[in-house]
């Protein structure tokens, strides 16, 4: 059992100078055999293991991670959480996640610092205005809170935005989802890891998968840098490396992996108390609790696994940021990094069974997977445990690329994800 985190445990541990806190998760060597192996120890993978153990009473689960947990895209995103997607299938999926977020800190007994500070999406041209109004209506029909704001209301909600009609892409309006916001990304991975570990899930770090063994249509196990692990069920949650793992199983996926960049500024006093996204000029910004501006840029258009991005992408984003927020003109950027995102042709994820028995994929989240972490884990666990998708992720199957029943959120979400 894990000791409960509380104000009392905080006071108690202060007497020993915080040197005797119980380990949040263990560092086990892999067993010879598991009932289920999850490949990928990011937020989605750990959440999957957590819900498999908690809601489906599965035992003997391992999460294998080639680096350290949360060291991939979970720790590289801009932490934006929202559910204002256009299509019914997406709205159901992302709002399911948002509802879990709202109670996640309590459920995990781990402060994920979920902050419902609102997410505002800006419109810069007539088509944006029409798209955002349409999306607002669609959201409300799906029971998702959404309001459309005119230019004055945008200015009132976030006074530092330059709403002058003279700028290159003037702000014509925007939408606001007040339930949306941000969370502390590392804490999400750590919280799920601690929760999963408590229920007996083996979290095996620095263990890279080198091959998938199968006889016919049945899985035998995985070859890893820590030896062979026997298993009949594998859930792959490998983000940018999904195609690499799929290739090991002889499976083809409709994915392209591209670098997505983000950057943070030096820390300053609170200046922006919400998240503002702009699809047309591709810039989004929020402020972390440490005071850094967290800025998201776009993807490069070429396939790369290098975790670096092109400088001109960052330059384009910062140009847009400066035009919209002249007050940031003398801010200095502190760090910049890239994560490798797996993008589906329809910009919607795949949470699905595959033609291979016992092999499941949760991938294709592209540039916007963080927001879905709890919902993705919950639905993927359901899919693995029952060998059938939950009704909320049924539309996100791999077969949609054959049937043509795509969930096209590329332009539809009207945001940079």
């Amino acid at each position: 059992m894990k000791n409960k985190y509380s104000i009392i445990s905080l006071i108690k541990n202060s007497f020993s100078y915080h040197e005797n806190w119980q380990k949040a998760w263990g560092d086990p060597e892999p067993k010879k055999e598991y009932d289920i192996v999850i490949i990928g120890g990011g937020g989605h993978g750990l959440a999957t293991a957590y819900y498999l153990a908690k809601k489906h009473d599965m035992k003997n689960i391992a999460v294998v991670e080639k680096g350290w947990i949360g060291g991939g895209n979970t720790g590289r995103n801009t932490t934006i959480i929202r559910s204002n997607y256009l299509w019914d299938a997406s709205a159901g999926l992302y709002d399911h996640a948002l509802k879990i977020w709202e109670n996640l800190s309590q459920e995990l007994n781990y402060n994920v610092m979920f902050s419902q500070r609102g997410v505002m999406n800006l419109a810069h041209n007539l088509q944006d205005v029409r798209d955002l109004k349409r999306r607002t209506h669609a959201n409300r029909l799906n029971g998702i809170d959404a309001v459309y704001l005119n230019t004055e209301q945008v200015k009132k909600f976030c006074p530092i935005i330059n709403t002058s009609p003279d700028i290159r892409y003037p702000v014509l309006g925007g939408t606001l989802q007040r339930r949306a916001g941000t969370a502390r990304h590392d804490a999400v991975a750590w919280g799920y890891a601690r929760g999963a570990d408590e229920m007996g899930v083996d979290i095996i770090q620095n263990c890279e998968v080198k091959g998938i063994k199968r006889s016919g249509n049945n899985l035998d196990g995985i070859e890893t840098t820590k030896g062979f692990i026997k298993t009949k069920k594998i859930g792959v949650v490998a983000a940018g490396h999904s195609s690499v793992i799929a290739n090991m199983a002889g499976l083809r996926l409709p994915l392209e992996s591209k670098p997505l960049q983000a950057l943070v500024s030096e820390p300053v006093k609170p200046i922006i108390d919400t998240v503002v996204m702009s699809n047309a000029v591709h810039a989004y910004v929020s402020q972390s609790d440490k005071g850094e501006l967290v800025i998201g840029a776009g993807t490069d258009d070429y396939v790369s696994y290098s975790q670096k991005g092109s400088h001109d992408i960052v330059e384009g984003t910062l140009n847009a940021i400066l035009e919209l927020y002249p007050i940031f003109s003398r801010m200095r950027m502190l760090r910049q990094w890239g994560g490798i995102v797996d993008i589906c042709p329809d910009a919607s994820p795949i949470i699905s069974k595959t033609p291979i028995k016992g092999l499941y994929f949760n991938c294709g989240w592209g540039t916007g997977g963080f927001k879905a972490t709890p919902g993705s884990g919950d639905l993927f666990a359901h899919t693995i445990a029952n060998d059938e998708p939950h009704k909320l992720n049924a539309a996100f199957n791999l077969n949609r690329f054959v049937s043509g029943d795509l969930v096209d959120e590329h332009g539809a979400a009207a945001v940079a994800h």
Binding site: R252, E256, S257, Y305, S306, K308
Partner: protein, 93 residues
């Protein structure tokens, strides 16, 4: 960001170019004969290789001509560039 040697214009910055995805995907000769699975394969399924990959690129802000590239996607190193219609270099197969 890297430099690309356009076979028509010479060395230019990558930002002048646009990536066109996986190369040598042959358009079906008889589209009416194709099954849904074969369409999915042609339209959507990609190798998405970590390592040496064959790609199409276009010099979008230059001569606007298409060409092929062999590139290591794990470190963005360009191995070879050859014109459309030319045979891909065999040593990277």
């Amino acid at each position: 960001m890297f430099l690309i040697h356009c076979p028509y214009c010479g060395e230019r910055e990558q930002s002048e170019f646009k990536a066109g995805g996986e190369a040598h995907i042959v358009r079906p000769k008889q589209p009416t004969e194709l099954s849904d699975d074969q369409w999915a394969e042609y339209l959507f399924m990609r190798k998405n290789i970590k390592g040496v990959q064959f790609e199409r690129w276009v010099h979008a802000h230059g001569c606007r001509k298409w060409f092929n590239m062999v590139r290591d996607t794990s470190n963005d190193e360009i191995k070879a560039i050859y014109k459309m219609g030319e045979k891909p270099p065999t040593k990277y197969k």
